[in-house]
Amino acid sequence: MNSQLRRLYHEQEGQALFMMCALLVVLLGLSALSIDLGFALHAQRELQASADAAATAGALALPYATAAATAKSFDGEPTGLNYKADLPSVTVLNGTPAVTCISATQLATLGITVGPTCTNAAGGNAVVVQEQAIVPTFFAKLLGVQSIKVNANSLVLEKGSEGAAPEPVNIMLIVDTTHSMTNGDSNCTGTGISNPTREDCAKAGARTLLSELQPCDPIKGCGTITNGVAQYAYQSVGLAVFPGLTATSYDVDEYNCQATGLSTSNGISLYSNPTTAPPYYTVVPPASDYLSSGNLNGGSSNLVKAVDWANGNDCSSSKYGLQDPGGAGTYYAGVINEAQSKFAGSTGAENAIILLSDGAANATQSDFVSGTSSTYYTNDCHQAISAGQAATNAGTLVYTVAYGSSTSPSDSCTTDSPAISGCTTMSEIASNLSMFYSDDADGCQSTDNPNLTSLNQIFAAIGYNFQSTRVLPFSLYTP
């Protein structure tokens, strides 16, 4: 017996078999690590891409309540646009996609001091998506691991935060130049003028907007600039005013340091059918020469000259840019129509109208050219609402800035029946309530943007809306 054991102890035949068996276990583990873990990691990356795409698509649909449904259509589930055949078991978790609110305090931790608010139809300013996939294993099954769960989370902030990437847009800025704009505004600061009028404050707001924008292609630059239009225009801005002009040749008087005074007897037109001209409302057609090396280009941009007196412009702070002689009452359905017409033929770019006014459309028959139908000198405010809604229906983003707007119909929309106030008119012209802002001077408050009450803040916030969405750290999300 002992001799048998001694022989077996010294026996060398077949030892490679045992070594191989031991090595096979090691190799199986390595295979599991290499193939199964590799496949799971790949699945996680694909899942993250679909979660990011879904959350971003949803954030683009904000502030509308359809945001979550839009996000859902881009997820990785079998019905989603990012479904992948090699990742069939994707499910969304925890009631997502969902709209969530990232507070101003949370945004401030990222250095975002101005961001989208949560008081909108969707009830939030970001979209969250959480996805999970169960990835079956190949070799790890032999070690008892049937599958590996992978998760992906994504949180994307709506457009409208500072510091994001600019996106192409055509903007028509409409500024009220009726006589009420000569009133002072003691709450308005930072204009560089000691006792600014409302018009000064509006011009300062326009300067803020221009400073936030990107006039030319971020990669190619401006190229050749012809008549204020860059070869590679990116964010173009035009300027229109009301009341309008009797001839387009008078537009120079809105940006040549007020060398010639405008009045109803010299250049300012009475109103007419809102689809006919005169009046000519456009002062500067969409231009992309308003910045030079990041600064306002007062040297050659008519747009900048219309709102600024510096940077090479020979004006002074007491005599510059747009004039507000008044005399023709207030009626702005026509200027909205004309602004919308400036987008005809634009392809690919987003179009936006920004209207600044107190909203008190009160022009009567005497403010219209002789022979104008009574249809146009009654219900002035409702006509403006219809014009704004038509622009929205044509795909244009309509922003309104109620400036000193009244909440009383009797001292604002005096030709309208049913009664409506200037404040309500301005809110209904906007494409949605998130695009309605107010300086809140006379009790007119924006429900969605109640904390933005200075024109500079408002115009900065509007400028940020022409920037991209932002993917946020998921740690900011609290279910």
């Binding site: 790949h42 971020p218 690919g348």
Partner: protein
């Protein structure tokens, strides 16, 4: 010794196979990541005259350690889009898909490429901003 001589090539091939598949999945993860980066670039490049080439450049730059000359990107605008999109004219709200393929490279010593038709594919569909 004879058994060892017989088993060693098998072991070596197995080890090489594990390394190759590990590399394969590394490339797959890198490709998926690069496609996601390229798709994001595409989504935010509306109005940029070089939108598609910018997205492809972003894809290449994100594809660390891949041979970028072997990456084949394809950009597709679904026919279900509201507008007729192209690389030079993209419309906000429409969708675009970026797909990229990359050869697997499963060459094993003495056996050659054991799966020459293998191709890695990754795609992401995004909404144009």
């Amino acid at each position: 010794m004879f058994e060892m001589a017989m088993l060693t090539p098998l072991m070596v091939m197995l080890l090489v196979g594990i390394i190759k598949t590990g590399t394969l999945f590394y490339n797959y993860i890198t490709l998926a990541d690069a496609v996601a980066v390229g798709a994001r670039t595409l989504a935010t490049s509306r109005g940029v005259s070089t939108a598609c080439s910018s997205a492809e450049t972003a894809l290449d730059n994100a594809a660390l350690n891949l041979n970028t000359s072997l990456i084949t990107p394809t950009i597709t605008f679904p026919s279900t889009n509201t507008h007729s999109d192209s690389c030079t004219t993209m419309y906000p709200g429409d969708t675009v898909e970026l797909q990229a393929t990359y050869p697997c490279d499963l060459s094993i010593p003495f056996l050659g490429n054991v799966w020459p038709s293998c191709t890695l594919t990754s795609e992401t569909t995004v909404r144009i901003e």
